[in-house]
Symmetry: D2
């Protein structure tokens, strides 16, 4: 099992059969195999980008198995297991571990957020960390959840021996910067927001889990390496060239944008699951143009 969280990861898209709408495990494995020919540190399966919220438990298992097939043992298979209840999250973490996850990513529950205090959230994460056979990674994503794990909460949880690190999916570098200083600077925080990868690494981030790494993995790895090695002119130029396409396949057009871009870069893409809808032809053309721009650099 990989000992640490660092480097660049793609949050895998879950590929569906375009006729039946069912999970296409073979296509997922093929995407992973191709991704693993680059310098990526591993993959995240069943993140928000993986339409995890739209899958049932059986489909989740198929995705984990398909991802594990393609990820070599010396790289990290991170699996999203967040559920609304503590007990369902624990069950999902156990199942993911059985199927080969090296670590699990746990988003905060959100539906009942108005009646879940920060203390209750901490208790929730602690119970999961206690029960999970593999380390857990805290997942801060205020956009979809409306919940914020504050630096004070992360500080408390970072002391748990089974908490491996944190993913911060926002452009907020104050919170990320404070968390990177925890455990005397040895608490790994990865950014989930590609347009800020370079400043995030400079502020102490250990890497990134980035939608755009599904389609331009080599460029993302290069950006990370430039940033870490102190090649700042190169890093700034590459960051700027990646920002637009990064936004197209995440904040602007979401998973539908990502799947369109996957198809343009030689990966399996295919349909999104309803209520998500495919991008229009106009948006597809814009994404194509943004991809070409980014590759030009």
């Amino acid at each position: 099992m990989p000992a640490s969280l660092g480097g660049v990861f793609p949050p895998l898209a879950t590929i569906f059969n375009s006729t039946t709408g069912d999970v296409d495990a073979r296509a997922i494995s093929a995407n992973v195999a191709k991704l693993m020919t680059t310098g990526l540190a591993g993959v995240l399966a069943l993140g928000s980008n993986g339409e995890a919220g739209l899958l049932d438990d059986g489909e989740c298992e198929q995705v984990i198995v398909a991802a594990r097939e393609g990820v070599p043992r010396e790289r990290l298979l991170l699996v999203g297991v967040g559920r609304e209840s503590t007990r369902a999250t624990i069950a999902a973490a156990r199942r993911a571990a059985e199927l080969g996850a090296d670590a699990v990513l746990v988003r905060p529950p959100s539906y009942y957020k108005s009646h879940v205090s920060n203390d209750a959230l901490i208790a929730h994460f602690r119970q999961i960390a206690d029960a999970s056979p593999v380390p857990i990674v805290l997942y801060n994503l205020p956009g979809p959840t409306g919940v914020v794990l504050t630096p004070a909460m992360v500080a408390t949880l970072s002391e748990h021996p089974n908490v491996l690190g944190m993913k911060e999916t926002s452009p907020d570098l104050e919170r990320l910067g404070i968390c990177t200083a925890l455990r005397s600077g040895r608490f790994p925080v990865v950014s989930g927001w590609a347009p800020v990868l370079y400043p995030a690494v400079v502020a102490g981030a250990a890497g990134g889990i980035l939608a755009v790494a599904n389609v331009l993995p080599a460029q993302c790895v290069a950006l990370f390496e430039h940033a870490r090695a102190g090649r700042h002119a190169e890093a700034l130029a590459l960051q700027r060239s990646l920002t637009k396409i990064a936004m197209h396949v995440s904040s602007v057009h979401g998973i539908a944008g990502l799947k369109a871009a996957l198809e343009m870069t030689g990966y399996h893409g295919g349909p999104v699951r309803s209520p998500l809808v495919a991008v229009s032809d106009k948006v597809r053309a814009e994404i194509g143009a943004a991809l070409r721009e980014a590759k030009g650099n």
Copy 2:
């Protein structure tokens, strides 16, 4: 099958065994049986109040069966079936209908809201209305979901023959009032916000689905009847006497507050499921005082 949506409904609490944490179907049936001795128009099973977001599919089935047992055929069994994906919602609606639901309540999906346009939401609801064997009720609850079904969207959906009506869970009477005027004033809208039940009925609401109706069903029915019959002094006085306890068991203390109040009024209550936590002894005492105040009227 009841032809219409109207009157007062309790959104049932899902009762758990206090040792194992599993669904206690017998306790649910017992609560329903007792509730059905009053003038309630039926019940809602698996609403937000029913911790639906914290249950797995098997548990949902147990709850529906338990509720159906206690609800006579001439009253309405409404069942919450909202899921994040269209296909899972359709599957849940079909299963609920098989198990005896008279109609299903469908909340909007929320996790991917930044990439689900109003048009995509309308398509989502239409597909469910097309596929559901029983009528669907639209469910607007901006608090937990961060999604608003606008009056314009509701107007469009109200024309679908399998859309029975709407539940509006907010204190916003502008939106509710506009929706009650749809279908020439024959589109039933029920309020999910007890502190505004009286003005909501006056603005055209057909009834209410109210947490407090689990613990003070007779008073809620009386308030509705006063409002509908134009006994305004009585209605205003009763509304004011119910508002405080209504807030304690919903917006202020949520399901934990409701379960505490259930125990004080002769119903099964018991534990909430984590990440929810029980109310403190201090809050329990406040709830007891608010119950006594409300009963004094």
Copy 3:
């Protein structure tokens, strides 16, 4: 001085000379004189609708003088005096009183809201109530300010002898309903949200301060009278017929919509002050249609 707050008030538009952009006091007086031929209880000068935030102190004085000219002594001249600092608000309240205001409307300061606690807000209002020569009316308008006066805060402030009542500008009838119960039901709360005027009155509101009352004063007064007298069928029908035009001249198109409607109903309208911009011809036509619809009833 009128002893109480009740009935229907228009929040006056501030009319500008269309060449110079300066305050046109004569046009304001003319509008007020015409409005005072109806059953309105008085007027509000310098509310949000009066572009108060866009005027300097000298202009504010002109507006107050112009309004006072047209409002007979037996009706109420309410003047908005909210400023960001306590001391500027007190100075504005004193000046308004000198110029003839019967009472002043005080919105909460908002710019520094993240560092103004509820206790600090209460202290702010208390100092103003202590210093103002005329009674103050609390003004809750969460939309523009991002600040909420909670029922608990209002309860505390309602005990001050120089606090006359409250204006609630939102469609939230929970908060309004709770506040109408203060001082044993004798704390006057007026609604600033015309689409909920009828249910608000039923929930205990003493009246309304409504943009639409600038253009359809008789209908607004009739709605209020129906509601208060318990003529519910008439009230509901009239509420429904007014809601659309009420939204056009407030929440949907704001002051620009109101000024367009003023011109169509025989009042002075004219330009809005930048950064506000006039409505398009298309919107103007929609407003005209909504006015005709409302008058048809």
Copy 4:
């Protein structure tokens, strides 16, 4: 007049006489004189930190004069002039220029934000840029205003010859990073969020306008210089040592925290203006501890 926007600036606190509450121009000049003995690039007068929203026009003039006295001609005197109306903002910009401002900082109007479109906002800024005798700096501060200048809006405005640059007061480095790439990377953007100064500079920021630069100017300048010179280990260490005190004197305790810290570092501090309130003794002690920690580095 300085030709450009870059380096570190303190947003001056406006000092009040502790007996009368009036502006204490002499104390402001003294603070500026002391600040100007360090490597600061100039000062911002009448920013949010300067309680600008709580001052009247005459007081604003006193502050500008006092600041100009202390700022040598070869450094930049930036003056906040944002008002709610376009015409008041233009008048304030002209007056500031007469009194010696080198450039003016213009926040977006916010009170009527629901009826001010992005196009109307652009028109507002353009009119000000056209009319101002000195260059204008765009000011993005979503916290107090609830308004966001999007990168697309900034791009449009950056083409105006009298728009000098931009201040971004948020921890969002995506927006900042995109704006730094405008005008082929020659559009100066300064950060108003000290906890992200280092990553902001790396992402292309030209400097910072930082509350903490009022109390620890030398350290802020050193951090900026380390970041710009590529001394990354030093920069990261210094950033981490400044973050806590930076938060205490801005996001956490605001101006009251800043004034307490000013007094502990040999500057004039004194009272804040109501509705702001002084920090408690407990908070004062925490700020003292945070200052000592930061100076230890």
